[in-house]
């Protein structure tokens, strides 16, 4: 089970991320789970998902974007954004867009290649929870949220830029 943290502590993880290659039969085989399903799966198997007895959330890969789920996203309890590799910065923009453009109020989770040294910026862009890569130490990761006392920009975490606070 991958370790999950929020900005303060290690938390239990009720969700399972479904791999991109998974077929719909898994819904039959594994009932009653809370799945974060890939966007394509979610689009293709709406009916099967409606009948499923566990909770369902969606994850977007870094080359997908929130516009593709803009009509339905408010019904989702959680949207996960994937970092296929930590140096792929697109999910930062996706997180910000979910919050600012679509006013998404649910949980935004970072999944994939989620490492200690990118956590501070992720939190600034609107991520709430972080499924850290298996080799990352949770204690070390939790320190990341204090890397900076404040920043110059207008962010999701601090919408008022420094020049309006000075």
């Amino acid at each position: 089970m991958p370790k999950l943290i929020n900005k303060n502590t290690v938390i239990t993880n009720p969700w399972t991320v479904m791999k991109a290659s998974t077929g719909p039969e898994i819904l039959q085989v594994v009932p009653g789970k809370n799945f974060i399903v890939p966007l394509q799966f979610w689009k293709l198997y709406q009916e099967e998902l409606n009948e499923y007895d566990g909770n369902i959330a969606v994850w977007l890969d870094s080359d997908e974007n929130p516009e593709q789920i803009s009509d339905e996203l408010h019904s989702l309890p959680l949207i996960a954004l994937n970092f296929p590799v930590f140096s792929d910065g697109r999910s930062y923009t996706n997180a910000r867009e979910l919050r600012q453009k679509y006013a998404f109020k649910g949980e935004i989770r970072a999944i994939g290649d989620v490492l200690r040294d990118q956590l501070y910026y992720m939190a600034q862009c609107g991520f709430d929870t972080f499924e850290i890569r298996h080799d990352q130490e949770a204690e070390l990761c939790l320190q990341a949220f204090n890397d900076f006392e404040t920043g110059y920009q207008s962010t999701v975490a601090e919408p008022v830029p420094l020049f309006r606070r000075r």
Partner: protein, 552 residues
């Protein structure tokens, strides 16, 4: 110049502590090479052929004498006694050891300096005209806007992992000395209707493997919308810029593949969402930043005082330096002095710790304790009294800093090349030196007149060869170092990319090739025509014929 407040200091201290921790984890083996890579790059640290290279940010090229002295100390303490001015107004050290870098950064932080985002796939140092605030042809001082952009781009959480590096230049003068059109974003300060000052914004310019002149996307952006416009452009780029191929990842490729109009539409859509948000600039903030660049305490003086005119008549060396290196100032009785660091035999842009200290002392004495670095790798003292020019020149001369070749053929731009850089195909510094030796007669150089000769050791184009009037590019030909020559490039207002003249040359042929090119120009020029104007009139063929005829 800009002074840090508690917030700026805190952020810098946080950054130094963060990088110290990252470096320790890397040394302890807890952070892999590949994961440490972007972290060290975003703190200016490269691993080079011989040693690490650390690039220090010099925001829009401005330095105080206190900062210069600290840079001299660092050159002495952590390096081998010298530093290097880059073509983006920064400073590089070639020898600091990785373990020392966190301490070096802490030393820099004491004088409000850092190496943040001087490398890596993020927004880099914002550059501008080295005469900003002093130039007579300026619409408005660009430095306040550069500082506003510096703050917005520093530690921007959304744009730290862009597809590729991202460079912004701002130009407030009529005569563009900032190579604005070959930046990812080029910003011209312009006057709109009712004489309101705003910005004309170009995107997608750049050099490197695929040189492109930037395209206009907004002809007038109100001051208050500067940051929201930039943020909208970056957002589109971060999402849509190519990440599958490093060589196609710059914004210029995205703009080209999307089409300027469509790209503009996308940006306009993003912009609409944030145009009137908390990121909209306030008058107070623009005012606050402008105050840091208020005019220094100028005296009431007159132009061309006798102390100057007497010496111009009696000392021909001073007169030669004056006519080349001293430019008009917007304030009566003052001049702008450029100290040219293109002494033959010294790598262009190299400066010793002793020289840095001397420049610090001279700037305290003659130019309000401030200097600027130019993108042509020289140093500018922007506010020198005309009646003190001779004294300053004497002092420069005694420090071997009175080269009088500013703007001439031997004031060339040159990257570190194969002697230092791991990327280079070929050496560039020995080429520069061979050309400087060939053209060692000042009279002949002034006869040739204004000429930009730019040399890059590889197609990454750090030496800006595409926009040199004469451009020289090091290429690898079956393991041998060869040099390709191009003509007609310019980074000024009429920016253009040079055209390759033909097959490349061996290293030892280059000085003669340059001489032949210059010979054609001298033969064909009409009156006072500059090289670039003659070239634009007659085209490349006459040069080509002569250069290759000789080879036969």
């Amino acid at each position: 110049m800009y002074r840090y407040d508690g917030y700026d200091h805190q952020m810098l201290a946080d950054r130094v502590a963060q990088f110290r921790d990252q470096t320790n984890r890397y040394i302890d083996g807890k952070l892999s090479e590949i994961e440490f890579l972007p972290l060290r790059l975003q703190n200016g640290l490269y691993v080079q052929r011989l040693a690490p290279m650390l690039r220090i940010a010099v925001p829009y090229g401005m330095l105080s004498s206190t900062q210069l002295r600290k840079l001299a100390y660092i050159a002495n303490h952590y390096d081998k006694g010298y530093a290097h001015f880059t073509t983006r107004q920064n400073i590089q050290y070639n020898w600091p050891a990785l373990v020392d870098v966190p301490d070096l950064l802490a030393d820099l932080a004491e004088v409000e300096m850092h190496a943040i985002q001087t490398s890596g796939n993020c927004i880099r140092n914002t550059t501008t005209d080295q005469f900003a605030g002093a130039a007579p042809d300026e619409l408005e001082d660009s430095r306040a806007y550069c500082e506003i952009i510096r703050q917005w781009s520093s530690f921007h959480p959304e744009f730290a992992y862009l597809p590729r590096k991202f460079k912004i230049a701002v130009c407030g003068t009529v005569d563009d000395q900032a190579a604005t059109q070959v930046h990812d974003i080029g910003i011209y300060i312009v006057k709109g209707d009712n004489d309101e000052i705003g910005f004309r914004i170009l995107v997608g310019g750049g050099l490197g493997r695929t040189p492109v002149i930037g395209k206009e996307i907004f002809d007038f952006v109100e001051k208050k919308h500067l940051l929201t416009a930039l943020e909208a452009i970056l957002r589109v780029y971060n999402r849509e810029g190519r990440r599958d191929n490093k060589y196609k990842a710059r914004i210029k490729i995205l703009v080209k593949e999307t089409g300027v109009e469509e790209f503009k539409n996308k940006v306009t859509k993003e912009w609409a969402l944030i145009k009137d948000s908390s990121l909209t600039l306030t008058d107070e903030e623009i005012d606050r930043c402008q105050k840091f660049f208020d005019a220094p305490n100028y005296q009431e003086l007159s132009n061309t005082p006798t102390q100057l005119t007497d010496k111009l008549q009696s000392n021909i060396l001073f007169a030669a330096w004056h006519s080349q290196n001293v430019k008009p100032h917007k304030v009566t009785g003052y001049s702008i002095v450029t100290v040219c660091f293109k002494e033959t035999g010294v790598a262009p842009g190299d400066v010793t710790d002793r020289q840095l200290e001397q420049i610090a002392d001279l700037s305290d004495e003659y130019s309000f304790g401030e200097i600027r670095i130019s993108h042509k790798q020289n140093i500018v003292m922007a506010d020198v009294r005309q009646d003190q020019l001779f004294e300053l020149w004497k002092a420069l001369e005694s420090g071997a800093m009175a080269s009088n070749n500013l703007g001439l053929l031997t004031d060339l731009i040159c990257c570190p090349g194969g002697d230092f850089c791991a990327l280079a195909n070929a050496k560039s510094i020995p080429i520069a030196e061979a050309i400087q030796r060939k053209f060692d007669d000042h009279e002949e150089l002034t006869n040739i007149g204004e000429m930009n000769l730019n040399i890059s050791g590889c197609m990454n184009a750090c030496g800006h060869h595409h926009v040199g009037n004469i451009g020289i590019l090091g290429v690898d030909k079956k393991g041998e170092e060869y040099y390709q020559v191009s003509l007609g490039g310019s980074s000024k207002n009429n920016a253009s990319l040079g055209k390759i003249i033909g097959p490349s040359f061996a290293q030892e042929e280059i000085p003669d090739v340059v001489e032949t090119i210059v010979g054609v120009y001298k033969e064909k020029r009409i009156g006072e025509e500059k090289f670039i104007d003659t070239y634009n009139r007659i085209g490349i063929d006459p040069f080509k014929e002569k250069v290759y005829a000789k080879a036969d």
